[in-house]
Amino acid sequence: MNTSTKRGLALLAGASSLAMLLSACSSNTPNSTTSGSPAGGDSGGSDQVTLTVVGLKAGSTPEAYQGLADQVADFQSKNPGIKIVTMDYEWKATTFAADLAGGTLPDVYEIPFTDSKTLAANNQIADMNDYLSQFPYGGAFNASVLQYGKGTDGHVYAIPAKSIYGIGLHYNRDLFTQAGLDPDKPPTTWDELRTAAKAITDKTGQAGFCQMTSNGTGGWQLTVDTYARGGSMETLAADGTATATVNNDATKAALQFLKDLRWTDNAMGANFTYDWGSINQAFAAGQCGMYTSGQDVYVSLVQSNGMDPKIYGLTMIPLDGSKAGVLGGGTLAAVNTKTSDAQKEAAVKWISYFYLDRYSSESAAVANAKLTLANDQPVGVPELPIFSDQDYANYQQWIKPYVNVPLDQMTNFTSKIGAATLINEPPVATQDVYASLDPAVQAVLTDQNADVSALLDEANTTAQRAIDKAASGDEQ
């Protein structure tokens, strides 16, 4: 009797620990049905559609979260049948693939221009072609922007949403002044840039010019420098096959320029492991005289790195030759391929409300500007037109009273970018091509005897391998 009681108790204990394990594993299930899958029970009963969307970067200020919550409440009151659930999100090359594979992305998420074609080809984002006309202006997006969201079948998959950028040259007005340079007349040629960088290092001891080198940003910025000298990283044949051309003369000139600036002038400081985030930190801390990055980076400099807006200056990247252009990019909103039709309808409404209405409706623009201002965040950072130039001009007019960004320190950029040629990022295996170039940029900055041609030949082999692999993957 005694042993059988013991045995029964032991069985009970074992069973309960098993039950705990199972419940621990399954406790995610209710969450994931509300957040992800289309056929979740909650969309069935009362015609209530639940939509998970991209929220803020993790660690944003409480004011920013409050602002987002206000927007969600406002949207839900206007669209009673839709329930919005926001998720913290930041697009990163290194985590996106894992999220995509793990199915943990929200129903509406953000992707860079470069990714949508591949995602569309892999059936990993929903076809939104039928919904295009429901967006503001009947979906009459700036054609050169909308093309990024189109798949190879010509359908629109991803919707241009925000942060449409061209690369600009950011400079520290304080360091310019200290070095005896005129902060209102930033360099317009690469030679002038080199002279200015040397002057800054000689007079202030800080790096005159900084360059990103890591996590694919080295290749990204080298592409920028290549475009600014009229070169290109890939050529497309008539049948669509791509050939890597990263060892072209413009890229060689760009690398040689960096090498001279580093070793002949010693004007690039001592740290060469920068990526997008850490170069912003260094610039905001006054350690960089100049660097190149997207023109919208001002937001991050102020919001995340505590930069004093007074030191900031923005101008055009020097363009050399008639074929030279500015690399452009931006963020698209994509809809999860697992969503139901009802969720897609809701997604269209949310994307319009959250990203686009401000460009088409004065009241939305003003409301958004007021909210951003109330949360102490930058209003009026220069953008490139997502619809027509005229629409963007109207938008600027609407928000004018709320602008808290030193636009007069950016006129060297804003007055000229409209006339410049915007060039797309390399179309095939973009991130891999960038990654193949990182080592070359790192090498010229850390090795005095680096051989520019040999480095680029090696990178070209790696890039071509990636391109061929991407091409063979698309065929299946």
């Binding site: 591949t118 890591s214 001592a270 891999d432």
Partner: protein, 355 residues
């Protein structure tokens, strides 16, 4: 246990027959659930038909299994089996399967040895192998003796021993990512950087640290040693306590100095532990990922590109990543190499680890 009991049973049975049935019973009853089939069969034949207890012991039905508490055993083991199965064995099997597939984790296609071919023709692979070997060598050169010397010194200290132990172990407590980011800040290559400023006071530097192909790898090893030595120090300290003090006394009586005591008493006693920490360190450093990933991303110019970093880059390097096939192929090859290496190592050192 089971072999001895089966050996014994026939003999007791033989004698048991002369002693009477009760004696047989007593000898037969005890068999634990682990008793083998052979014994049950033997018992049955020896005792013949008339014995009632026979079928009960012999039949291995689910009912007897449940009655003997098999269910409880299973239920108790199940959580562990499930956890291991889901989080350990299933991923291992899955990754081996994926090594032969082209997959984006949604749709998969069998591609035979294509992934292995792709990895083996990657021009970066030789460099990654050399870099990993270099890291391994440096880590052994610096990381193997440092904790040993630290532990021996600490065991000699009589006062405040606890304080030294805590100080040595403290870096292990800091989350690895935090310590790497901390050191990345220390490694600022400007002359105002923390290390450069400190070394500047004694007239050294400034050094480029992570920004030079020669300096980058030693910089990573330095941090890795700092971060990992504490755990090994604790293991050595524990082993040192186990060395009988009378051996030292005897050695002292024989006129041994500190070096001779170390060489003839301490190290031989630590041999078993050293042997294990050595192989553990090799396996761990062959899989170095965190330091190159966070410090340099493999740079400058691939100077710190390791095999694990390559695996990561295959799978997640580009935003659309999804070359999981090549990543798992390289992982499988690395696992095989490490397994073979461990086997050879254990073979070669078998003789001297037992002495």
């Amino acid at each position: 246990m089971s072999t001895t009991s089966t050996d014994v049973t026939p003999r007791t049975l033989a004698t048991g027959k002369t002693l009477g049935e009760s004696g047989v019973r007593r000898d037969l009853r005890p068999p634990t659930p682990a008793t083998g089939k052979a014994q049950a069969v033997r018992g049955k034949s020896a005792r013949g038909k008339g014995v009632k207890a026979g079928p009960r012991v012999g039949a291995h039905t689910p009912v007897t299994w449940v009655k003997k508490g098999g269910l409880t055993t299973l239920v108790f083991a199940l959580p562990v089996i499930v956890i291991f199965g889901v989080f350990s064995w299933y991923p291992i099997v899955r990754s081996i399967i994926m090594a032969f597939q082209e997959t984006n984790l949604v749709t998969a296609k069998w591609v035979g040895l294509d992934n292995f071919r792709w990895v083996l023709t990657d021009p970066d692979l030789p460099r990654a192998c050399l870099n990993t070997a270099y890291f391994l060598g440096l880590a052994l050169l610096i990381g193997f003796p440092v904790p040993l010397i630290g532990a021996i010194l600490m065991s000699e200290v009589k006062r405040l021993k606890g304080v030294y132990t805590v100080l040595a172990y403290l870096p292990v407590v800091i989350p690895p990512v935090v310590s790497v980011l901390l050191w990345k800040f220390f490694y600022d290559a400007r002359s105002e950087g923390v290390f450069n400023a400190l070394l500047g006071y004694i007239g050294l530097g400034p050094y480029p640290w992570l920004n030079d192909k020669f300096w980058a790898m030693p910089s990573l090893v330095l941090e890795a040693t700092w971060a990992g030595a504490g755990a090994t120090v604790i293991i050595y300290l524990a082993a040192l306590i186990a060395v009988p003090t009378n051996l030292y006394e005897a050695a002292e009586l024989d006129g041994a100095g500190i070096w001779k005591k170390l060489w003839h008493v301490t190290l031989p006693h630590l041999r078993g532990v050293l042997f294990i920490t050595f192989i553990l360190q090799i396996i761990a450093t062959a899989q170095v990922f965190l330091e190159p990933y966070l410090f340099t991303g493999g740079g400058p110019n691939k100077a710190t590109l390791t095999i694990l970093l390559m695996i990561y880059n295959y799978a997640f390097g580009a935003s659309l990543g999804s070359d999981y096939g090549s990543a798992t192929a390289l992982s499988v090859m690395l696992a095989i190499v490490l397994a073979i290496f461990s086997l050879i190592y254990f073979r070669l050192t078998k003789s001297w680890s037992q002495s």
